[in-house]
Amino acid sequence: MATPIIIPKFGQMTEESAIVEWLKKEGDKVNKGDILFTVETDKSVMEVESFEAGTLLKITVPPRVNVPVQSTVGFLGNPGEAIPAVAAPAPAAPKKAEPSPTTAPAPAATVSAPKSIAPAAAPVAASVAPLPTPAASSLFRISPRASALAKHSVIDATRIKGTGPEGHIVEKDVRNYLQQHGYDKLRISPAAKELAAKEKLDVLAIQATDDSGRISVADVERAIAEKPKPMSKMRQVIAQRLTQSFRDTPHFYVTVAVDMTELIAYRSQLKAAGAPYTVTDFIAEAVVLTLQEFPDVNSSTDGKTTRWNSHVNLGIAVSLEQGLVVPVIRNAGQLPLLELSQRTKSLAEKARAGKATPDELSGGTFTISNMGMMDVESFGAIINPGESAILAVASTKPQPVVRDGKIVVRQMMKLTLSCDHRIVDGALGAKFINGIKQKLEDIELWKRLAA
C-alpha cells in the first residue's frame, strides 16, 4: 500500500500552506532525506524531506494551491502499487475572486499572532484592468457569437452591458461597444494583437506611445508588466499585519540624536582585539537594559486590557529579497552581551537563508529596525502588532554639534521610537529613548559589559 505524503505543520499558528515547487516528479526515485517539495507558510519558504524511500507515485496537490496543514499531497511507494482513492483536499482558498471567509475560524490566538488570511485569487481568475467595471462573474452571460467576436477583437467582454434576455450579451452589444470605444480607429501591429490575445489583455485599454499612434509589441509588453500580479504569501502577511497595526495603533514618534563617537572607537578597539561586536549588538543590549527599567514599554494592549511581558523577546528586523522578517531573540534580558551578539548573528543568518522556523519568527515584545547601512538621516517604523513600540535606527554620520560652546564634529546617529499611544505617553517615550541614548553614550558601561 502506498504511503501518503503529508504537508507538515510548521509552527503553531500555521493553519494552511501552499506547495511552492515539487522538486521530484511523478515516477522519480526518492531516498530517505531527499527534499520532496518546498512549502510557503506565512513566514517563509521551507523545504520538506521525505521520511521514507520509494518512488513518487502520485502528486495530488499541485503547487500554489492552499490546503490545510496535515493534508495528503501525494503518495510514495513501489512502482505499480495501488494508490488509495482519496479525494484531493479541498483547497483552502476559493478559486473565484469573490472574498470569502477563511476556512477555519481563527484560533484563540495571542495578540501577537498573525491571523490566517484569505489568499489572493489564482492568477487565472484575476481580472485584467481597472477601467470600466467588469461584471461580477456570476451575472456574466454571453452568446457564443458575441463571445467569438469579443475574442477575435481581443477585448474584455465582461465590460460590455448585455441587452439580450436576462442581460445576456449578444453580438449586437459587442458591435455597439466596439463602435462606442473607437475600435475602428484602433491601430495595432499584428504581432502586438497576437501577444495581447495570448495574455488576455483588452486592446482598448492599451496606450500607444509611438508618434504614429499604433500599438506596438513594446506597448503590449508594458501592459503585461503593469498587470496586477498576486503577492507572495509573505508579502500578503506583511501587508495585512502592517495595515492592521497602522490602522489600529495610534502611533507617535520621538527622535533623539546619539553621539556614537566613543562607542565606535571602542568597537574598533574590540574588533582589533578579536571581539567582533556590531553596532546593532550595542543598541540591542541598550534596548534590553532600558526595557527592564521601563517595563510598561515591554507590554501590549488590545484597547481594554494591558498585558505586561515578563521576558524581553527582542525582534530584529531582517530584510530579504522578497520582503521582511523579524527573527526574535527570546529571553534577551537573560543573555550576556557576547551571547546576545552571537544569537543575533546566527538568527539573522538563518532568517536570510530562509531557514528560520515560524516559531523563531514570532512572539516578539519589542523590535529594532536598523537601516544604518542604508545611508538615511532618520525614519519612523511601524509597530509590530502585539508590541507597544519599535526603535528605528538611522545611519551614523559625522555632524557638527555644540560641545562646551564650541562647534565640533561628532559621529551622530538618530534613533526614532514609534510608540503605541494607548500604552506609552509622550513623557514615557521620551524617558525610554533617552535611557537608550544615555547607555550608548556611557563608554564605561560598555567597558564593563564587553570585558
Binding site: S189, A191, E194, V217
Partner: protein
Amino acid sequence: METFDIAVIGAGPGGYPAAIRAAQLGAKVAIIEKEKLGGTCLNWGCIPTKALIAAAETFEKIKHAEKLGITVKGASVDYSVMIGNKDKAVGTLRSGINSLLTANGVKQFTGTASFVDRNTLEVNGGASVPASRISAKKIIIATGSTSAMPGFLPKHERVVESRAFLDINKLPASMIVMGGGFIGCELACMAAMLGVKVTIVELLEDILLLLDADVRREVRAHMEKNLGIRVLTGKALEKISADGKGVKGSFGDETLSADLLLCAVGRKPVTDGLKLENAGLKTTERGFIEADDYCRTKVANIFAIGDVTGKIQLAHYATAQGIAAAENAIQTKLHKHDTIVPNVIFTSPEVGTAGLSEDDAKKQNRAVKTGKFRFAGLGKGIATGETTGFVKWIADATTDQLLGAAAVGPHATELIAEAAAAIRAELTTRELGRTIHAHPTFSEIWMEAAHALHNECIHAPPKRK
C-alpha cells in the same frame, strides 16, 4: 567669426545627411570635411567595391554562360578600365553630394576640425591656408573610422588595407587576405572571380562569425568550391614579411606566400586632432565617442553619429543616426533612431540579414521558430539558374512575430529590404505568408519560408515530425 546653428564634422554617409536634414529644418549649417565628400563609404568603401564586384560578377557570368547557350571566346579582364569605371561612378556620386549640400544652403569647409571649446571649432586646411574658426550652437561629430593596421605588419607596398587596395591598377596573381570579416570576404570574392588565387586567414574559428552557422556555411562552401578560395581558420597569420618578390607568412606549420597581403582586421574610430578635451568630451577605452539612442554625447550641445560611436559600423545606420541627431539638435521633441538595421554582404553568394539572428535568440534565451526555403525550390531560381542558398525567418514561438531574417543567395542584398520592413511593422509569419507575392520572382521565397515555418509549404513536401 562666422556663427552657425549646426556644425557637422565629417561629410560621410552620416554627416552629409545630418547637414541636409538640419538645413531642411531651417537651421544655418556648416559641414567640415578634411578629404572628400561622401567619406569612406562613397570613396573607399561601399560604392567603389560594388562597382568592382559588379564587373567581376559579369565576368563570372560570361565564364559560365555556355550552359545557357552563349559562347564567348577570348573574354578577358582589363582591370585598369574597371578601376577607371569605378572612379567615374564615385566622381558622379561625389558631385551629386556637392550639389545637394549647395542646394540646401549648407556651407562647406575643407580641413581638419578641432574643438576650441564646446561651441567653437578651428578648421585647419593645411599649411597654405590660414586656420579659421567657426562657432555653432550644436555640433554633430561624424568623423567615422579608418582601417586598423596592426603594428606587427611590415610597412611595404605589398601590404595594404582596403582603401589602398582599391587604388591598385593591376591585380596581383595571388593574395592573402588577413581577416575573414565582411570586408575581407567581399574583396576576396571579387578578386577570385577575376582570376586571383586567394587565401583567407582568419584567427577565429570561422569566417563571417556575425552570421548564423547555416548562413555562413553556405557562403564558405561556395567560396571554397566555386571560387577556389582557400579559407584557413582558427590560427593567426604569423611571421609576416614582405620584399620585392612578394609577401610571406606562416599559418601553423605552413608557410604561405603571395604577391600581396590585404589586411582587413577591422576599423578603428577617427578622433585624432579633434581635441575633444577642449569640449569636455572623452573617448571610451577603445577610442569611441559614446552616444545614446538619441545620438547625444555626455556634453549637452554635442552629438555623435556613425562609426565613431562604435555601435553598428554601417553607412545606412550612420545615416539613420545622422537624421535623428539633426532632428534632436533642432527640435524639442526627441526621437530615437530606428533599431531594425539590415546588414548586407556582397560576397558570392550575397548575404542579407535583419533583426534577430538565431544565435541572438539563443543568447537571449528566447523561444523562436524558424522557417527556411531554398532558392533551388523556387521557379525563378531554377529558370535563371541561380539556385544557391536560402532564406529563413526567425519568429517568436508564441506570438508568431517576425523577429529576424537572413537571406543568402541571389539578390539577397535586395531581398532583405522586404524582411526589414516586415520586421519593423511587427508582422507575424502568418500575415507575411498571406501577402500575395508576384510570380515568378525571387521575393516569393519570403512567402514560402513563412509557410515553411508552419509546415504549410505548397512547394515543399511536409516535414515529418
